[in-house]
């Protein structure tokens, strides 16, 4: 392969770091999936297939300055933003509101479940960064399905007009739950939509973290230079469930899934680093063991944290309203009767 591009881009340590983070993402997600199936965590969306896009993107960012606005799937792959992310994610899945409270210094917004609603948030943050002269950018992760929402069009249009330092990371993984991309848009590509907003649209192989790194690094440079937002369409394939409440075997043809699995980014990227002499069996084993220990610790801590069902009242307003206090009292009363 042509290593010149790689040498211009991430360092060797970053190349290895990306693979370690991708492996960790798969292990974290798999463990959480299994815990959901064992009744110990709530509904979750597996990362399988999206690792390279998220990891390649975040390694091109500067976590101390750049903000992440994610939907529900990406958190397992945000290792670049620190181990606190997976700890919060497991807390979140275990039902703790604290799972959505990232400590100062971790520039990650909580998971957005409403489709596309995080995109205007990212633009709003980027606008603030612009007005305050801060050095960072904001990144919105969203899917091919979310790109059909009005929030995307409004936010992208506004961002382009004000030249907000934002990167729209559209992860096209082939499926919006059970809707294939062919039924999602009549456009030739999702990246084409950028033309309507007057911003660059770039289509990149979302299974190649190095390619994603390069595209995002360029988009970040543009944004920081005051040239405005970029729409990145990262093309990959969802290697499994939309969420734990879904059965993809009912709509994804088995042969399509088999073909996608043969290009599993976690496997192909590891093979690539082996060719470069940056990876071996020992590194693989160490990466797996490290990730396994991290997720086990996060799970132990989350499951050992007492659940307080009324805690969510604490996070709606700065001061709870009398009405909410009445609701809290009712909830606690019902809980006392074993009816909650």
């Amino acid at each position: 392969m042509d290593t010149s591009a790689v040498q211009r881009g991430p360092t060797d340590a970053e190349l290895v770091g990306m693979l370690q983070t991708m492996i960790a993402a798969r292990i974290y997600s798999t463990r959480c999936f299994n815990l959901q199936r064992q009744g110990r965590l709530g509904t979750m969306a597996p990362i399988d297939g999206n690792e390279a896009t998220v990891v390649g993107c975040t390694y091109a960012l500067q976590p101390e300055h750049d903000w992440i606005f994610s939907q529900y799937r990406e958190f397992y792959a945000l290792g670049r933003y620190g181990e606190e992310v997976i700890r919060r994610q497991v807390l979140y899945l275990a039902g703790h509101p604290e799972g959505s409270c990232y400590p100062a210094g971790v520039n990650v917004f909580p998971a957005q479940i409403s489709l596309a609603a995080q995109i205007p948030h990212a633009v709003g943050m980027a606008w603030g960064q612009l007005r305050q002269g801060l050095p960072g950018v904001s990144v919105a992760f969203f899917g091919d399905g979310a790109s059909s929402e009005g929030d995307f069009y409004e936010a992208a249009n506004f961002a382009a007009v004000i030249k907000a330092p934002v990167i729209f990371m559209l992860i096209n993984n082939g499926w919006a739950i059970s809707t294939p991309t062919a039924r999602q848009t009549a456009a030739a590509t999702f990246a084409d939509k950028a033309a309507a907003f007057g911003m660059p649209g770039v289509r990149v192989d979302g299974r190649d973290p190095i390619a994603v790194w390069e595209v995002v690094a360029a988009a970040r440079a543009r944004a920081v230079a005051g040239e405005g937002p970029t729409l990145v369409e990262a093309v990959t394939y969802r290697l499994g469930h939309h969420t734990t409440a879904d059965d993809p075997t009912r709509y994804i043809p088995a042969e399509d899934m088999a073909a996608a699995r043969a290009k599993d980014p976690v496997i192909t990227y590891a093979a690539q680093l082996r060719e470069l002499g940056l990876w071996d069996d020992a590194a693989q084993a160490a990466a797996e063991a490290t990730a396994q220990a991290a997720i086990d610790a996060a799970v132990d801590a989350a499951l050992a944290t007492p659940l307080a069902p009324d805690a969510f009242f604490d996070h709606v307003y700065a001061e709870t309203t009398p009405r909410m206090e009445r609701q809290r009292a009712l909830l606690l009363e019902l809980e006392g009767k074993g009816q909650s």
Partner: protein, 460 residues
């Protein structure tokens, strides 16, 4: 210690799931997160991974069982001292996780994927291919999918295959074999929308009409000692009956009436139909048809009986239409098709509709629509030979009337004891809205029509 693994809610708001296949057995060694069982939910078939590493100590539910969320389905001995809390807590110490490790990327070859996501490598030959809805249908109809050839793509079993199999004489009829179906509508109580009966009748010719012989008497009540899951219609019946028994305060009145005039009227009506060549109509005109006409007219006179207490118990809804549910015995239990607007039909229309629905219920062509909307139910338990009974009201209704066996019995007529063919009539009512006065008035009105069938001509 023993880790007890309870069926989790693997969907969103799931209440139960069917155990499709155990992937491990008692004594097997398992590692944490190893798939141990396949379950079928409303949404999907999923594999459940083991919550702990250890040895399978007990499998507490069987394949085919439908299990409520929260039920312990397997016990795993994790080999630790029995001091730890007996929950399915995380076992961080168990690091062995061969099936769930991340793929080792070497030559890009696809190694086994992580445990969860898409189940691959499943032994497809061991499990019949069918959609969850087809599986549910099969469970309801008591059809064993493993015995069925599928007519769909790739041998997939379709709903039509299950329905065919469920018919008597089908390729894989239910275990409770149907005897030759005879026309008529007998039986006990049951449900409204879905199948959900009470008890199956015995094979006997009933006095009100021939009884479809649902189950040979010798097969009734036959089960070996032990615990058996309730399946299909029986499970629905159990739920329906428990609901009505626990929510409706029943009162049941019992009486007996001289049926001589009714039987005579039926005979003359049949003769009249035959004279005009209406042989089929004559055959359909069972005594139960006349009784249904009598009840329908009586419901029109007392609207509060054609009603239901609303679920929160604070209001009553009086129905506009009179739709009579008629319990029909089938090989798998009772089904209650509904004769709509029974009060507005003439006797021939009523007879033909009752006959059609009874046939449809027995050969499984009755539609879900034809099982819905009943406002009152009739049960011809006398087809079984009994005299009095205390039938249970179906959820969503306020009353059920049952008819015992017509037999010669001694009664007093004008001061003398004579032998007459009498019909026992019982009426169960929802005491929340129906007191003894209304209950008796309703029942005596029906008895009046039976004693003097000509008054049916007067309408309500």
């Amino acid at each position: 210690m023993t880790v007890r693994f309870a069926l989790p809610d693997v969907g969103e708001g799931l209440h139960e799931a069917e155990i499709v296949r155990w992937l491990v057995g008692v004594g097997d060694t398992v590692v944490r997160d190893q798939p141990i069982v396949e379950v079928l939910t409303d949404k999907a078939q999923v594999e459940l991974p083991s919550p702990a590493a250890g040895t399978v100590a007990a499998v507490t539910v069987a394949e085919g069982d439908i299990v409520t969320v929260g039920t312990v389905i397997v016990e795993i001995d994790d080999g630790s001292a029995p001091t730890a809390a007996p929950t399915a807590g995380p076992t961080a110490a168990s690091t062995a996780m061969p099936t769930a490790s991340v793929p080792i990327g070497t030559e890009g070859a696809a190694p086994p994927p992580p445990v969860p996501t898409i189940p691959t490598g499943r032994a497809s030959g061991t499990r019949p291919k069918a959609s969850p809805s087809t599986r549910r249908l099969a469970a309801r109809l008591g059809v064993d999918l493993r015995t069925l050839p599928g007519s769909g793509p790739g041998g997939r079993i379709l709903a039509a295959d299950v329905e065919t199999a469920a018919r008597p004489g089908g390729p894989a009829a239910p275990a409770t074999t149907a005897a030759p179906a005879a026309p008529a509508a007998p039986a006990t109580t049951t449900e409204t929308a879905g199948p959900a009966p009470v008890a199956a009748p015995l094979p006997q010719a009933g006095p009100l009409g021939p009884v479809p012989v649902a189950r040979a008497r010798a097969t009734l009540g036959q089960l070996p000692a032990g615990t058996h899951p309730l399946r299909g219609i029986r499970r629905l019946t159990a739920a329906s009956m428990a609901q009505t028994w626990s929510t409706i305060p029943h009162i049941t009145g019992m009486d007996e009436v001289d049926a001589t005039a009714l039987l005579e009227a039926r005979k003359r009506l049949q003769a009249s139909l035959r004279d005009s060549g209406a042989e089929a109509e004559a055959a359909a005109l069972t005594p139960l048809v006349l009784l249904a006409a009598a009840v329908a007219r009586t419901l029109r006179r007392y609207p509060l009986v054609n009603a239901a207490v609303d679920p929160d118990g604070t209001s009553v809804t009086v129905r506009e239409r009179v739709n009579l549910g008629i319990a029909v015995a089938t090989p798998d239990g009772l089904i209650v098709p509904v004769v709509t607007d029974a009060d507005r039909r003439d006797l021939v229309s009523l007879a033909l509709e009752m006959q059609r629905l009874a046939g449809a219920a027995r050969d499984r062509t009755v539609s879900a629509e034809e099982l819905r909307g009943g406002t009152f139910t009739l049960t011809n338990y006398g087809a079984l030979g009994g005299r009095f009974a205390t039938p249970l009201i179906l959820p969503g209704q306020a009353g059920i009337m049952g008819f015992g066996a017509i037999k010669e019995r001694p009664i007093a007529v004008d001061g003398a004891v004579v032998a007459r063919r009498t019909l026992p009539v019982v009426f169960s009512a929802d005491h929340r809205i129906i007191d003894g006065d209304l209950s008796v008035a309703f029942q005596e009105t029906v008895l009046g029509y039976i004693a003097e069938p000509l008054t049916l001509l007067l309408g309500a």
